[in-house]
């Protein structure tokens, strides 16, 4: 397998897209899938459950130092930044919010870029701010693959447009094409 991890970032207007993507992935998907989605910081429970309804892959919010496993979806927990750390583990952080966001998509993507290099796939979905653009650029610069949801399809295209301006993305895909691409990796 050419790739080792998929990270998806999204904000306003991304919930349905994320749900559609993860519900299309089979139970034993060969990669770990990281989700960094802007969310209300004070609502700790319910999000994993809502995403789990249609997903065949197990979804969890990692605790600090939890080992990363293929075939699982990991959602960045509320009010923490989520990093991939050396040794194939997660690390959490309460460093200051970036782009008003904690979790910050940029920071999660940057750590994935740093640890997986060209074996990382980054995907930016609908969203109303610029978080994620620099993160996707970091993945691209490290030799990884940069995918952006087609802004024409996004409920709010600010985030995808910012990503497209920040870096030379590999693919601009509609949701169905993202799904097809992820399934073809098997």
């Amino acid at each position: 397998m050419e790739y080792k991890a998929v990270i998806i970032g999204g904000s306003a207007g991304s919930f349905q897209v994320v749900t559609k993507i993860i519900s299309s992935l089979p139970k034993k998907y060969p990669l770990p899938v990281f989700l960094c989605l802007h969310r209300l910081k004070h609502i700790r429970s319910g999000f994993v459950e809502a995403l789990s309804i249609k997903s065949q892959m197990p979804i969890e919010e990692p605790t600090d130092k939890q080992p990363i496993k293929s075939g699982k979806i990991y959602l960045a927990p509320a009010n923490y930044h989520m990093y991939v750390e050396l040794g194939n583990k997660f690390a959490l952080s309460t460093e200051e919010p970036v782009n008003h966001s904690r979790p910050s998509i940029d920071l999660s993507f940057e750590s994935v870029a740093y640890n997986y290099n060209r074996k990382a796939i980054g995907i930016i979905l609908s969203g109303a701010n610029r978080d994620g653009a620099l993160g996707l650029k970091a993945i691209k610069n490290a030799g990884g693959l940069a995918i952006v949801q087609d802004p024409k399809e996004c409920q709010v295209p600010t985030m995808t447009n910012a990503s497209i301006s920040a870096t030379k993305v590999d693919h601009i895909f509609k949701t169905d094409e993202i799904i097809k691409f992820l399934l073809n990796l098997r």
């Binding site: 605790t63 600090d64 130092k65 690390a91 952080s93 460093e95 200051e96 740093y114």
Partner: protein, 275 residues
Amino acid sequence: MINNIGIVDTRKVIKAINETYNYDFNDYALTSFKHRLIQFINNNNYNNIENFIQDILKNEINFEDFIDKILIDTTEMFRTPSFWRELRDKYLPKLASNRDLKIWIPHVTSGDDLFTLEIILFELGLSNNVHITVTGMSEKKLELIKKGGEYSLKKMEVGEANYKRYAGKFQLSNYYAVKNNYAYLDTSLIKNVSFKKGIITQDKSTSGFKLIIFQNHMIYFNQSLQDKVAITLIDNLVPAGILALGSGETLEYSSAMNKLQVIDKLEKIYKKKIG
């Protein structure tokens, strides 16, 4: 301006710090440590990492300032309101009933948890039943806490929103005064506190605590330092004493776990096993 530094350079900085100032950051979690290091290097106008390392070796950086800036102090008052509610409702009244509750807040980087706890104790009418020991590595941060912190109004808004979710008796603004656009917490709240400068893994002078609050510090350590720190914390707890970590933290992967019992999996509350 430096945007990123590699592992090799990060290790070189850590080695230089250790040689010059005899403090070991080797077991800090890499990503967050690197972020703070990059900020420090850029704020001090270094254009390359070699110059920075040379200045460390020549003892030309202010180490107190470095410690102050490298420690992550960006938590919130009443962060995770459900934890503080649980502490208020299930633990503090029982623990403090016989006037000798010793609490330890180690490795403080901000006054957030201390003032949060003090406000809760005040509202429970238990302030006089409790003695709190606060230790920290950074002299600067300890001095700031003693003055009531120096909070931006934006940070106080965050605290106020958390306090409402916690469902306190009053408003957070009852506990602070604003001067020149900064909020200072009421220092009469912290009369029952002893402050001590100290490094967590070397702290042997303290003991006999019934409650230790150690939230969102373990995340900045690697597993091996987490294990070491967990042992220090447990050693300083009385049997059946309580240890509270942050909501994203766990001792599940720690070698110290055999000395503890999980009593609240969601809020990350542990109890020291008896015997």
